[in-house]
Symmetry: C2
């Protein structure tokens, strides 16, 4: 394998599933860049981790670890919703995609999203959807998404 | 109880959870008005019904039955997504809301959506979200929703 720049990037940034030890590698700090997380104890983290892991392939959290800093620098989630529509079909939902401010420009966001889309496809989903801000539309178009609808929300 | 028109409407249209027998009451025909459903055998319906029911309060399908025609005339789904964000918070997702063309004007859509929102609130979700077409934005605003983001999709 040659050691050109793209391969160094590939080697430095390692895409894998979330592990329990990632809390100590900055996973929560990374999520804070997306939205408020607040304080989560190790016990709370572990409980939620196992709840989500119990769904197996139907709820997958990807992370990118920087092998130099040993920090988690990107993440994204995909989960499967089972429906009656489309012959008892399945829809993939992508959530909580974020790249660390220090790691932007290395195409890690695309790497994460591509892997989540591929996961949904391999599980037999008939579609994969996500909600994003107007500013991020261009990024998701580069990942193969098309604008489809409007997201509406109530915050309690 | 008086027998004025609004109470008659209340009595005629009965909101409840989906039951296995609703396949024979037009539940699939109703979903066809929203999107392609295709052919689903009784066995496939039963299997998917039980898969979803096994999630208990975290995946609820509401239906409205017309007590006169004994048909299902409205439906909507809410499911809970568990996150690390917001202190290991929960987000409610509303999906697959549809009212039968023959039953429009009786505010059944609002009745369904209000019940799904209330369910998400009672389960402790910090937000409830849904995706809709531009044409349906006004309806969801009347249900208390605000426009928040753009939905992007890939259809496989």
């Amino acid at each position: 394998m040659s050691t050109n720049e793209s391969n160094e990037t590939l080697d430095r940034f390692y895409l894998r599933r979330l592990e329990l030890s990632d809390k100590s590698k900055g996973f929560i700090d990374l999520l804070q860049q997306l939205s408020a997380v607040g304080s989560i104890s190790d016990e709370e983290f572990e409980e939620r981790f196992h709840e989500l892991a119990s769904r197996g392939e139907e709820h997958v959290i990807c992370v990118v670890e920087d092998r130099i800093s040993r920090r988690i620098v990107a993440t994204g989630t995909v989960f499967v919703e089972k429906k009656f529509l489309r012959g008892c079909g399945k829809a993939g939902h992508i959530e909580d995609v974020v790249v660390d401010a220090s790691a932007r420009g290395a195409k890690l966001g695309k790497k994460v999203v591509d892997s989540l889309v591929e996961h949904a496809r391999l599980l037999g989903c008939y579609k994969v959807i996500l909600d994003c801000s107007m500013e991020n539309k261009g990024f998701y178009k580069k990942c193969g998404f098309e604008e489809k609808a409007v997201q509406m929300a109530i915050y309690f």
